[in-house]
Amino acid sequence: MNDILKITASLTGICVAAALILGGVFAKTDAARKDIERQEKDHTIQNLLGFGHGHTPPADLKVHQVHRYVIDQPDGTKVLGYVLPTKEGTYVLATIDLMGKPQKVVPLQADAAKMLEEGSRTQAVVAALPGSRATYAETFFVANKGSERLAYVLPGVTQGFKTYIQLMVSVDPALTVTGVAVIKSEEDPGLGDEIKKDFFKNQFKGKTKDALKELKVIKEPLPEEYRDALEPDRIKKKNLSGEKVTEIKSKHIKDDIYALTGATISSRALTRGVVETVTKFAYRLAILDKAIKQDNIPVSF
């Protein structure tokens, strides 16, 4: 009997002590972890915009977020809802029907802190449209230099060799690709995982919106000089001048995407992801810009 008591007491003691320690550490690290995750994302966006690794971004660079929702209205129809930041620092929700006709603009009761968390943001959206159901779709970023739009950074997802590949594409205002980043993927190391390498993903740089529509993946070896120009490490090692790099790149700008050896499926998957992300965005941006102009929404970007 004494033993049972002792055993129970010591096990309970361990459990309580463990729970206390864990609770304490969790409270300390949770906020820091979320912060780091956010920083990581900012870092990726900065890199895509070309301001990573020693290139300091201009002082008046601002990155704005636009959130897209799919809204089920009470009458059974669907519309798209865009959460847009305004010049005064408030937020509005602009709804656009599926055929691309602007519907209405409603102000949102939320501040910047509420906008960061998906849960509270969705609540604000639903509160602005009583009776509707809102499903969060995606967030894209608009980078501004002063009042002029510098670039867009778009999230995308595509079916890879095993699971989904999450990616981000940056495009300039004319919707020409300026960078591609793979955020999350589970491709085979050494094979499909090479899609993360500069010599593959930099092939997308400079492909225009129209070029993407015709873009194919070809099973040919990547020309050596093109590879040199694609990899910053090689440019440094071979001392290629800026003009030489531009010359090589412009020579190959019309080329299709050279597939990775032994990983054609992953190469096709990423290509498809980039093409679809940009094409869909191009379609939506035209509609959104028209809506912004028509309703005179004072957006901050």
Binding site: D3, K6, I7, S10, L11, G13, I14, C15, A17, A18, I21, L22, V25, F26, T29, D30, A32, R33, I36, E37, E40, D188, P189, G190, L191, D233
Partner: protein, 219 residues
């Protein structure tokens, strides 16, 4: 050599957890595609091993012999949860590569075996030193395997270390400039490399003592 030095040395080579005791080999194969990953997990193991050894050696009088295994598991699980929450704050990028294995430190046989065989009988200081030695030996094993695999498989060494130690210019980055051996970073490469390192350890021991050590067991 003092006793503490002997304990440290023991963990590093003569009783290296991976190559000699053949304990906790799962991460040794899985996360060693680069040195950085191996080092990162190694640090986590050192932390858990030292903290658990210290905890058990302080409270060994209070732990009833009948429940020592569940008690040890609880102690280890607590420290693993702590490091699992701290590491992503240190380096999110590398943590993502080894996330599953950080959580799995709970079931690493090396840790519980050191608690059972050493920390539960010895005083505080030797327990901590023994834990540290074992952890360092484990890290050494991971880094060695990682270095061989990275060098042969990707043709680099210490790539990505700027996430662990900030070396923006990466002065240690060694690029061999030859076509790397793909198989080395594929899953199979890990098995090959560890098999060959074990054989090398056996060979060295044979040269020194004239005997081939028996290593047929596994536990």
């Amino acid at each position: 050599m003092g006793r503490n030095t002997t304990l440290l040395w023991n963990g590093l080579i003569p009783e290296n957890p991976i190559f000699r005791l053949a304990l906790s080999m799962c991460p040794a194969v899985a996360v060693t595609t680069t040195v950085a990953n191996g080092f990162f997990l190694g640090v986590a193991v050192i932390f858990v091993q030292v903290m658990s050894s210290a905890t058990v050696s302080i409270f060994k009088k209070l732990i009833h012999p009948r429940i020592r295994i569940p008690a040890y598991v609880l102690v280890i699980a607590t420290w693993v949860s702590v490091i699992d929450m701290v590491l992503p704050v240190v380096s999110l990028e590398t943590y993502k590569n080894v996330e599953l294995f950080v959580k799995l430190i709970v079931v690493f046989a090396i840790i519980i075996s050191r608690l059972e065989l050493f920390a539960s009988k010895e005083p505080f200081v030797p327990s901590v030193v023994d834990g540290f030695g074992m952890g360092v030996g484990f890290t050494f094993g991971l880094c060695l395997t990682g270095a061989i695999r990275e060098l042969l498989g990707s043709g680099t060494l210490l790539a990505g270390t700027r996430y662990v130690i900030d070396l923006a210019a990466n002065p240690f980055l060694v690029s061999l400039g030859v076509q790397p051996l793909l198989v080395m970073i594929l899953p199979a490469g890990g098995f090959f490399v560890i098999g060959f390192i074990m054989a090398t350890f056996n060979w060295v021991e044979y040269k020194i003592t004239g005997k081939i050590p028996a290593s047929g067991g596994g536990h």
